[in-house]
Symmetry: C2
Subunit: 249 residues, 2 copies
Amino acid sequence: MLSKSQISFIKSLHQKKFRKEHGLFIVEGLKSVTEFIRSAYNVHSVFFTEPAGSKMLNLSKKINSQLISDNELHKISALTNPQQVLALVHIPPVQAVQSQHFSNKLSLMLDGVQDPGNLGTIIRTANWFGFDELLCSTDTVDCYNPKVVQATMGSLSRINVHYLDLTTLLKTTHLPVYGALLEGENIYNTNFSDAGFVILGNEGNGISAETARYITHPFTIPGIGKAESLNVSVSAGIICSELKRKYLK
Amino acid sequence: MLSKSQISFIKSLHQKKFRKEHGLFIVEGLKSVTEFIRSAYNVHSVFFTEPAGSKMLNLSKKINSQLISDNELHKISALTNPQQVLALVHIPPVQAVQSQHFSNKLSLMLDGVQDPGNLGTIIRTANWFGFDELLCSTDTVDCYNPKVVQATMGSLSRINVHYLDLTTLLKTTHLPVYGALLEGENIYNTNFSDAGFVILGNEGNGISAETARYITHPFTIPGIGKAESLNVSVSAGIICSELKRKYLK
């Protein structure tokens, strides 16, 4: 049985402030929790209901695990439909990011993406297309937000997400900086370099003026219909596909 | 001021059963409502709060419009953050769908997509890439669900969504039927015909066995990383992009 203080502690991790204070975040669902246990992440503890029991006991032998009731799971879960297993995972230490580190690859950069579902879906897509890192402006939604974690479908366990002042990095690079804008070179005619940065912006406002100053290659996804814009996670999918299609053919 | 019965009537339209019974659905937000007013849809009534007043009065002169309070808008809105304007729009009559109608174009087909955000995003993307129709299995989420309407960002006003028994249509066609599966021809090497059907499946289970029987050309979006799958709306984006890139270059 969970104590009142355990419940309020775990619930506090739905909020960024407390995730930061305690250095922990929530992962839910048997599949995602399994992937985090098998990853380089350090799992703090696992809470599970009866149906997941045998699977969890095998998986998390060395991890502090606790059988709880459906009702308790509902109290601590961030989901409308909780999924039998909830783990607390340590937030990895922040890694210093230096521009040399990005000198021989194409890196995705997000400037102010706000919707947790969008960020989670972008992490999942980036992982699908073999990116191992994602660079986010400090005002991008927290990747340890439970809704983001959920939408990554386990991919967060396989991709490093860095939060940083994008302009500090862009200021020192000599690589091409591609920016997804409403006007620019047609993406289907753009020859992307094998090394550089590709920036996507906020859902409503696009790339911020400060970041946009460093774009050397504006590009766009042309449309045919009268839709005003594409969803940012769909744009990210089309861009990842275009960046990798020559390697995937 | 809204009467109690008005409030409960509008709120009932959050549910499919009552949308069907009354033949009305909800559209929210100044931009989306404006697009529906200017479209072929028949707008039944508009409710707006003070800040949207002048714009709405100009736009909806011939439409039954009513100024309401923020509090009233909160009561009838399906959004966590209501957006000044809410309209009730007539659901268009169901059009009979015959296979000849699809004989000279590529049509997108959804088989059992369940998440309203995914369907809405797919409608928005299809509209961006110039598709004017979307074919959905009868168990696909209702396109007049307020969360779907919201996610289309107005694109629902420009695209016809048909619900039908997909197999009845597929059974009679001689066109190629492309199915997005986990295994199949590499999408980047697939020469899509100018006429045919392209099927995407349910979030968890993919294309149903009954529908899959009619696939003549299975294809897949190859990945590089260890992600297990792509989100269906991201897949739809990549597929639309691949189908149209030759026309957009």
